[in-house]
Amino acid sequence: MTYTIDQLKDIAKDVRIDCIKMLTEAGSGHPGGSLSSADLLTALFYTQIHRTKENALSDDRNRFVLSKGHGVPTLYAIFAQLGILTKQDLLTLRKTGSILQGHPDYDRLPEVEASTGSLGQGLSIAQGIAMAGKIDQKDFRVYCMLGDGEMQEGEIWEGLMSAPKYKLDNLCVILDYNKGQIDGSVENVMNIEPLSDKIKAFNWHPITIDGHNYDEILNAYEEARQTKGKPTFIIAHTIKGKGVSFMEGKIEWHGSAPSQEQCDQAIKELSAL
């Protein structure tokens, strides 16, 4: 099935609304980095990964590793859109006994593909999956989303070094470059620029886009698919808290849940998009 950009936008809107509802119900969690990735991930799951309830654990499925595990509400919300989870499940986020742990838990919910939440580890895991795909001569592709603050972890740079060595053109990294982390802006905490040059110097194929512009997102995904002999790294400029006026670009919304009032306000704004 193919999706128009308008359809994708509608799905992403629902995903954002569900993120807000889940986080409000949970009373804790990370709205900023969940909202910033919603367009990139909606487009990814519907146009590249083609995830369905049926293929969610099939051997040949395309894979997605959410390395910035605290952004998992977006992933759960997409799973609910796809019928892998129910809307009811979403409201159990972070509650005792739920399969929807605060960070992805592969043992409880293998559809998340990896247990993350300690930043910096997802790229290496995605690389291993991509290597296995090459060994087994499978056609599946592996996607991995990183946070911009997460780029500061040493293991990320080790992974950046090794994936080109093994010519992992079945691997594509998507950086949710929302400019914020916990102690402040990425630029002030520990600058990662000039990023595109670094990525290029590490022998990846870098693509820079606006991570909320669907034409650019879809073109980048297509370009990644066409790129042979090396892995692709999409630098997607995004806005932390995108879609909710009082959250956009505000560090305070990295890791605190909305009140019921703020939730209502946020849903009103998102519904009007």
Binding site: K95, D105, D183
Partner: protein
């Protein structure tokens, strides 16, 4: 007043910075969570925001310590002790004055779940030669432990909580490194507790008083070097013992006490804590119940334990 030990740390280190120009503090993008930011606001020239890069922070702390500084390196216990080999080689082996501040220990942090909960950190740090392991149980004890750490020679791991800790010590309390503290006397069984579990343990002990079960409660703020002498004395006097920790029962307080008694004075011992399993998301109170760490569960465990026969030792 009830206070999280991470908050006590932030206050203490900001205060001590005044008189001690040799203190430097390194942070890995969790300054508002570890409360190291309090030092950073007052002494920006001695505060280093290293970003989400714990390994680099650990090694840098070692270098600073080798050059006359006392380096406090701060993050969640799970993340910082996760970089084990770097701590082993750059800090413990050269025996340098780094203070590893590990906050957000235990399932008590609640909904964030296992990835953020320090649950094996004491075990990992305890196994390193030269490394002292401290987990204070209330505000005063934390402030004093941080102050003590300035005099200490060699590395220390200091385990702190996100949740508030009720006061457990009396007004004129004096922290003594390596010494357990008897908070309540009793002759039937000794409970050793540490950090976030001390208060619940005391409560449970008081409740059992009514039924004539006399529980001794000992706060073990220094898990390494552990107070052998006091543990052996308690084994002699009360025979039975129980350990209570918000940590895996493997390698932490339970193991430390077991090691002492099995070599010197074997008695029946029960370990309360996470039974070789990972943590999970949930409300703090519910998780404490689930893992047997709330007052009611501790009380029940003591009752059950008291009904068991001591093994016959040959």
């Amino acid at each position: 007043m009830a206070k999280a030990s991470r908050v006590s740390f932030g206050e203490a280190i900001a205060k001590l910075g005044e008189k001690h120009p040799e203190i430097v503090v390194l942070e890995a993008d969790l300054g508002k969570s570890t409360y190291s930011y309090q030092f950073g606001e007052r002494f920006p020239e001695r505060y280093f925001e290293m970003g989400i890069a714990e390994a680099n922070m650990i090694g840098t702390g070692a270098g600073l310590a080798m050059t006359g500084k006392i380096a406090f390196i701060c993050s969640f216990a799970a993340f910082v002790t996760g970089r084990y080999d770097i701590i082993r080689m750059s800090i413990a082996y050269p025996n340098v004055n780094v203070r590893i501040i590990g906050t957000h220990c235990g399932v008590a942090i609640g909904p964030d779940g296992n990835s953020q909960q320090g649950l094996e950190d004491m075990s990992i740090m305890r196994s390193l030669p030269n490394m002292g392991v401290i987990q204070p149980g209330d505000d005063m004890e934390t402030q004093q432990a941080i102050e003590y750490s300035l005099k200490h020679k060699g590395p220390l791991f200091i385990r702190l909580t996100r949740q508030k800790l009720e006061d457990i010590n009396s007004k004129n309390y004096q922290f003594q490194y390596g010494k357990g503290v008897i908070l309540k006397d009793g002759k039937d069984v000794t409970l050793f507790a540490t950090g976030g579990t001390v208060y619940n343990t005391l409560q449970a002990a008081h409740r059992l008083e009514k039924d004539g079960i006399k529980v001794r409660v000992v706060n073990i703020h220094t898990i390494k070097p552990i107070d052998d002498e006091l543990i052996i004395k308690c084994a002699r006097e009360t025979k039975r013992m129980i350990t209570v920790e918000d940590h895996n029962i493997i390698g932490g307080l339970g193991s430390a006490v077991s090691e002492v008694i099995s070599e010197h004075y074997p008695v029946l011992l029960k370990r309360i804590g996470l039974k070789d399993c990972f943590g999970e998301s949930g409300v703090e109170k519910e998780l404490y119940k689930k893992f047997g760490l709330d007052t009611e569960s501790i009380e029940e465990t003591i009752r059950d334990f008291m009904s068991k026969d001591q093994p016959v030792l040959v």
